[in-house]
Amino acid sequence: MPRASGSYRVFNIANHIAVGALALLCLLPLMNILAISFSDRTATSAGFVSFWPVNPTLAAYEYVLEDKGFLRALSISVFRVIMGGTINLVLTLLCAYPLSRESHSFRARTLYVWFFLFSSLFSGGLIPTYMVVRSTGLINSLFALVIPCAVPIFHIILLMNYFRSVPREIEEAARIDGAGHWKMLVSVLTPISKASIATVTLFSLVNHWNSWFDGMIYANDVNMHPLATFLHNKVVQSGLDILINTSDMETLNRLMKVSDQTTKAAQIFLAMIPILCVYPFLQKYFAKGIIIGSVKG
């Protein structure tokens, strides 16, 4: 450690302040939405809410948690995360293992790698993809949310690179013990790659939770929308729309009491909770994961 000069000490203090301020800048918008969601409607619409709830109330949450549309969207999201995450994981393992073999013993490897890589570099674009999804009968089906995105190319490459970094002796020993390819994948490589597998799995769970566009274009029926799509509709839809389309008086009255803004804030915050819950685990793994997978040498 070099001796700190006077000017370095000044820099050091300024640096702590600057870095701390940047971190605060990342946190404040999230605190703002949290404060709005717990605030009273009148305070919110007068613009008095900053980072702490004004006249705290649970009205918005009570309203949202009774909203059938919200709960239905939530259940679709849960389905999609579990189903989609499982499919992604299985296919990632199944593809990463063969692609991690040596080209001289598995001749077709190079061809397969390019097959996958090219599919991530070039795309048919929105309309042709939509038409293929339609002609495979997935429109208005929940499978449209998990099948077209079933093969995560980036995750496969990441795990393939990890498998290739496993010491050769481990595989040799297993082969001498008579392990075939299936046994090698399931009982040798999978257990020692837990950290990498956890990384890609968490990433695919987050992706599924966050995806909204496929839900919007592949389902004409709003009752089939996952939570992210449901929220997107709410965000772009003006509060006026809701008032016009609501015919029954009771709902209308409740809407008047709970401002649209606090409702949206509560929905946004509820949608953030699962991410916040997996985030500690995510953070534990991803730094290592993306570096092994993306840039070597």
């Binding site: 870095v19 800048l25 001749r107 077709a108 599919s119 309309i127 099948i147």
Partner: protein, 306 residues
């Protein structure tokens, strides 16, 4: 078996059969949902009619492209895409590097770890959520930013509805979301710099600032180069998710990008051929840019994807 080479184990083909079987489901899905749509790109050269299908629709050559060029807003959309994407590329490179350098100077592990925990988080939140959050913050009537502007006596701004501000809002909120995550790779490069280099520089009389100049910056320059080159592949990627969650007809002039344009004319106006023509242009240019960037990173940055 006659004619078969003498071997102790099963033949290579038989040995590798499980490998092909493992790949089969993935190959099938990628073929159907990634490769078949590429064939659908021929729609760009047709007058596609859903009733007549891909094989029955009339061929019109480049007519769709000519028609698009005659639209006044096509040029604007391409321009918007380039401006927004380039701004994001440049700031998205500089901010994470500077942030990583600053964070690396801080010795308190606890402080560093807390800061990291906070700044990586926005990356994992979707633009649906962040769009909703920024709608609130930037709202002209109730948003906190405008309340602050009011307090210090400045005029309030309609950030999301004003063509003067909209691109800046897109670029800055995108940097806000990604700079922390983007800094991870540089932080890793910084920690892998050989500490004896610093000691040697100190013995030569270099102070802390000089050490950054002669040790730290050269130490991360190759990774910065690779990331800069790779980001070229995103030159037409202005951020579809973000724009679709934050824009409105008032800001189409400055905020409409290729992807939102493709979406609107394709799925909302059902102009399949026109939309696919724009998509064709976007896919081809993007493919070229990504290939070039990978090649440059491979050739000059020692970067390997696999």
């Amino acid at each position: 078996m006659p004619g078969r080479k003498k071997r102790t184990g099963p033949s290579a083909a038989k040995r590798n059969l499980p490998l092909h079987l493992m790949l089969l489901p993935g190959i099938l899905i990628v073929f159907v949902y990634n490769y078949l749509p590429m064939g659908g790109l021929v729609m760009a050269f047709q007058q596609y009619k859903p009733t007549r299908g891909l094989l029955g629709s009339a061929w019109v050559g480049l007519q769709n492209f000519r028609l698009l060029l005659s639209f006044p807003n096509t040029k604007q959309v391409v321009l918007n895409t380039l401006i927004i994407a380039t701004s994001k590329l440049v700031l998205g490179l500089i901010v994470p590097v500077v942030f990583a350098l600053l964070l690396d100077e801080i010795r308190s592990r606890r402080f560093v770890r807390s800061v990291q925990t906070i700044v990586y988080l926005p990356y994992f939140l979707s633009w649906v959520i962040l769009g909703g959050i920024f709608f609130n913050i930037l709202s002209p009537s109730t948003g906190i930013i405008n309340r602050i502007l009011e307090m210090v006596g400045l005029p309030t701004q309609y950030f999301l509805g004003d063509n003067q501000h909209f691109r800046w809002v897109l670029v800055l909120t995108d940097i806000w979301k990604t700079f922390g995550y983007g800094s991870i790779i540089y932080l890793a490069a910084l920690t892998s710099i050989d500490s004896t280099l610093y000691e040697a520089a100190a013995i030569d009389g270099a102070n802390r600032f000089r050490q950054v100049l002669v040790v730290t910056l050269p130490g991360i320059s190759s990774i910065v180069f690779v990331m800069a080159v790779l980001s070229l592949g995103n030159i037409l990627n202005a951020g579809f998710d973000q724009v679709l969650n934050m824009y409105s007809p008032q800001v189409y002039q400055t905020g409409d990008i290729l992807d939102t344009f493709i979406y609107r004319i394709g799925l909302q106006q059902a102009q399949y051929s026109l939309s696919t023509a724009v998509g064709f242009f976007r896919s081809v240019i993007s493919f070229l840019m990504i290939s070039i960037s990978y090649f440059l990173a491979y050739r000059y940055g020692n970067y390997r994807i696999f």
